[in-house]
């Protein structure tokens, strides 16, 4: 337990060990540690950025979906409106067409009736003349009474 030369020897050993550690041990380890720290920090930052990016994308997706839905609704609404319009138009057309057909039929009927009436009138006049001439075979001269007969026909 005497203090002796060992003290000097130990001091020298100490200095050499510290020098070696400072030169060859500490710098590579600490620089590797720091480098890894930066890498991890960068990685975490990138992950966070990715998360933010994802959130943004999700927001965008939601927005696009909403827009698409709105557009679809709009298209459906327009289609429904158009449908109603088309039905109304078709109904109007049908009604007009029906009326037109009705009017045409009416006038045709009237025309036919008039024709029939005319022909009946003529035939009646002929028949009346024939009947009258039979009755008045001898007394009536058709040429002498023609004026009277025409009047009669006009009256019918």
């Amino acid at each position: 337990m005497n203090i002796n030369l060992t003290l000097i020897g130990q001091s020298i050993a100490f200095v050499i060990f510290v020098w070696f550690c400072m030169k060859f041990v500490w710098p590579p380890i600490i620089s590797a540690l720091n480098e890894r720290k930066t890498k991890i920090a960068d990685g975490l930052a990138a992950a966070e950025e990715g998360q933010r990016e994802k959130a943004r994308a999700q927001e965008h997706v939601a927005q696009v979906t909403t827009e698409a839905k709105e557009q679809a609704q709009e298209i459906i609404r327009r289609a429904e409106r158009r449908e109603v319009e088309m039905i109304e138009e078709a109904k109007g057309n049908a009604r007009a067409e029906g009326e037109r057909i009705l009017v045409a039929a009416r006038s045709e009927i009237e025309k036919e009736a008039n024709l029939a009436r005319e022909s009946l009138r003529g035939q009646l006049a002929t028949l009346a003349v024939a009947g009258a001439s039979r009755i008045l075979a001898r007394e009536v001269d058709s040429s002498a009474h023609a004026q009277m007969l025409d009047d009669l026909t006009a009256e019918l």
């Binding site: 002796n4 060992t6 050993a13 060990f17 510290v18 500490w26 590797a32 890498k39």
Partner: protein, 287 residues
């Protein structure tokens, strides 16, 4: 161990004797001391071969292992021993960052060296006290003290290195005048110039004692703790020669003390490192 059955006193004394190589005062030849008295007679010009051998072996072991790890160190995923080394380096780095606020590339490696080296030297205390001396004895080596930190030369040697660094940085940072002022202008302060001069002796006395007490307490603390621990291991080892019951009790005690001693081994290495950092921090900061 010379005799067949040493007495208790002889056993203890033998365990506390370093393997001393020095100049024999009678004929001036460099020889190994064969007794404590001979070693003492050699005075300063002697060297403890066991202390030097074990401390340099352990220091070299530390640097070799850490150097290998340093060569493999990269920003990639670490594994195995490198992981362990990085853990220690990170621990030391945190401590240095926590207590040392200046820019100095020496402090962190210094702290790492001291911590691991002292830790390894302290750990030798956990090796059963008779193993290595017995092997040495079989090899013909008379004395063998395997825990370098139980030799005050080792602890004083390290503390001396720290002390020189403290002085160096004190003067480098504050200048010779600044350092001298620190030693003489406080703790008693005065604005009057004559009072100032009157306070110088008292201030210098107090500051000088506190300056010198730093390395002394640093080394004696480590030495005292480890020496006491070693002493208790030696005393426990004495029980082994006292019959079966005492031997079993000795085994249990040795185990218990070793477990407790792990704490001291770690704690003293940590304290040595932390105080070194603190002393250097004080050397760097202005008062």
């Amino acid at each position: 161990m010379a005799s067949e059955a040493p007495t208790t006193t002889e056993y203890i004394k033998h365990h506390l004797q370093n393997l001393t190589f020095g100049q024999d005062p009678t004929d001036g030849a460099w020889v190994l001391a064969h007794s404590a008295a001979e070693a003492k007679a050699m005075g300063f010009w002697a060297i403890h071969l066991d202390t030097m051998f074990w401390s340099i072996l352990l220091g070299a072991l530390f640097l070799w292992g850490f150097r290998k790890a340093a060569q493999r160190a990269s920003a990639q995923t670490p594994n195995g021993f490198l992981n362990f080394v990085e853990w220690i380096v990170e621990f030391v780095d945190d401590n240095v960052r926590g207590s040392f606020s200046h820019k100095n590339d020496l402090v962190a490696p210094l702290a790492l060296t001291l911590f691991v080296w002292v830790l390894l030297m302290n750990t030798m205390d956990l090796v059963p006290v008779d193993w290595i001396p017995q092997i040495a004895h079989l090899m013909g080596i008379e004395y063998m003290k395997v825990v370098p930190t139980t030799d005050p030369n080792a602890t004083f040697g390290m503390a001396l290195g720290v002390f020189v660094l403290t002085l160096f940085y004190s003067i480098k940072v504050k200048g010779l005048g600044g350092f001298a002022a620190e030693l003489t202008m406080q703790p008693f302060q005065a604005s009057h110039p004559i009072l100032k001069i009157l306070f110088v002796p008292a201030n210098f006395f107090l500051e000088f004692v506190s300056l010198v007490s730093k390395p002394v307490s640093l080394s004696l603390r480590l030495f005292g703790n480890l020496f006491a621990g070693e002493m208790i291991f030696i005393l426990i080892a004495l029980l082994f020669s006292g019959g079966a019951v005492l031997a079993v009790a000795g085994g249990v005690l040795q185990w218990a003390w070793a477990v407790f001693h792990i704490l001291i081994v770690l704690l003293q290495a940590f304290i040595f490192m932390t105080l070194t950092i603190v002393y250097l921090e004080m050397a760097h900061s202005h008062h």
